[in-house]
Each structure stands twice: as structure tokens, then as C-alpha cells.
């Protein structure tokens, strides 16, 4: 079985632009969570979706938004990019409520 897949793997944007990151969960998993990992730090929770409903939101500005589709894949959108948004964005899927499986992430660089 394929693991959590994220696309693209790398992305370079300039300040003020918009970005969309995509995630496909493990087959059968209905929950997707998004995390931001700044270099040298642990992942920080952004959103969790379950059955297309938002179940949780971390302490991130409204520039960050997400959605989950009927096939349980998900998108993370970030508007008006700032230099500080440069990070590894991780998607995790879960079937049971506790065990989360992470993808390899999307490395976003904002110039």
C-alpha cells in the first residue's frame, strides 16, 4: 500500500504569492492533519480534517486554510506568503484517532 503522498516535493515562491499544497492519505484513512515544521524545530499543528469537516485548528493566521475532498485527499492553501512561511509542510493521515502516519512533506521556500 502507498503511504501518505504529498505534492509538490519542493516549491519556491516569492512574498505575497499564494501556494497550494496537496496530500493524499493512506487508502482507508479518513483523517488528514497538516503541520508546519520550521528547520530545527518540531512540527506545529495547523489543521485536522475528518470526513471533510474541520476538527481542529492550530494557532495560525487566517492566511492559512485547508479543505478535504470526498476522496479524503486534502489541500493546504497559504495566501500572501511571508518569508517566515518558509518551512517543511507535513501531512499526516490516520484511521484510528491516535496513530498518525506522515508523508515526506513539501519544502516551501519563500524569497
Amino acid at each position: 500500500d502507498a503511504g501518505v503522498t504529498q505534492s509538490p516535493t519542493h516549491l519556491i515562491k516569492t512574498r505575497g504569492q499564494h501556494v497550494t499544497l496537496r496530500c493524499s492519505p493512506i487508502s482507508g484513512h479518513k483523517s488528514v492533519s497538516w503541520y508546519q515544521q520550521v528547520l530545527g524545530q518540531g512540527p506545529q499543528f495547523i489543521f485536522q480534517y475528518y470526513e471533510k469537516e474541520e476538527r481542529g485548528r492550530g494557532n495560525f493566521p487566517d492566511r492559512f486554510s485547508a479543505r478535504q475532498f470526498p476522496n479524503y485527499s486534502s489541500e493546504l492553501n497559504v495566501n500572501a506568503l511571508l518569508l517566515g512561511d518558509s518551512a517543511l509542510y507535513l501531512c499526516a493521515s490516520s484511521q484510528e484517532q491516535d496513530i498518525q502516519y506522515f508523508g515526506a512533506g513539501t519544502r516551501l521556500s519563500v524569497l
Binding site: 501518505v4 492533519s33 503541520y35 530545527g40 524545530q41 518540531g42 512540527p43 506545529q44 499543528f45 485536522q48 476538527r55 481542529g56 492550530g58 507535513l90 499526516a92 490516520s94 484510528e96 484517532q97 491516535d98 496513530i99 498518525q100 502516519y101 506522515f102 508523508g103 515526506a104 512533506g105
Partner: protein
């Protein structure tokens, strides 16, 4: 406010030695405590996890020790190998939703 505090930041161990990483938490509502291993360029991979109703869990060379009264838990890697060199994150969650991660420990195992 850092919900989960992790130490040390970095650790160097000789091959065959024991690696010990410690974490402390404040929120007594946390009911799931996983450890993740992350290699450069990869997403975190679940290593081992514990719930607060047990004091220890062992899987192969990896052991979690959990002290509910002290609100601390630790990862012990026995017979450490060069292939164990990676960054390790502890985490905590409740209701299976948002995960709070520690700041990570960079482990280097010297041959």
C-alpha cells in the same frame, strides 16, 4: 507556550551504548504519547507509543518509560547503532486530535 519539553537537544553515543531522550508535559489531559524518528528529507515515522495506563513499553531495542505523577516520559534506545542516527521527537495528544511535538533531539551514534 511549549506544551511538551524535550531534552537534550543533541546527543552523541558510542555504538552499542544506550541513548536516552527525555520529555516532560504539563497538560494532564494528554492520553497518548508517541515517539517519532525523522531522517533528513523525510517525514517523521512512528517509532513507539504509550498510553498513561502503563509505565513501560518495549519494542525491540526501543523502550518508553512513563512516569504519570512526574508528567515525564523517556525513550531508551538499547545497543544504539549508527543507523539510529536521526532526529527524534516526542509528542503528546488528547482525544486523538492535535499532536504537540517536542523540539527534537539530534542523535549521532559513533561507530
Amino acid at each position: 507556550q511549549q506544551q511538551v519539553k524535550q531534552s537534550p537537544q543533541s546527543l552523541i553515543v558510542q555504538k552499542g551504548g544506550i541513548s536516552i531522550i527525555n520529555c516532560a508535559y504539563e497538560n494532564t489531559a494528554f492520553d497518548y504519547f508517541p515517539w517519532y524518528q525523522q531522517f533528513p528529507g523525510k517525514g517523521p515515522a512512528l517509532l513507539i507509543a504509550i498510553r498513561p495506563d502503563v509505565s513501560e513499553k518495549k519494542e525491540g531495542r526501543f523502550t518508553i518509560s512513563f512516569n504519570k505523577s512526574a508528567k515525564q516520559f523517556s525513550l531508551h534506545i538499547m545497543d544504539s547503532q549508527p543507523g539510529d542516527s536521526a532526529t527524534y521527537f516526542c509528542a503528546a495528544s488528547y482525544t486523538g486530535n492535535q499532536f504537540y511535538f517536542g523540539t527534537g533531539t539530534s542523535l549521532t551514534v559513533i561507530p
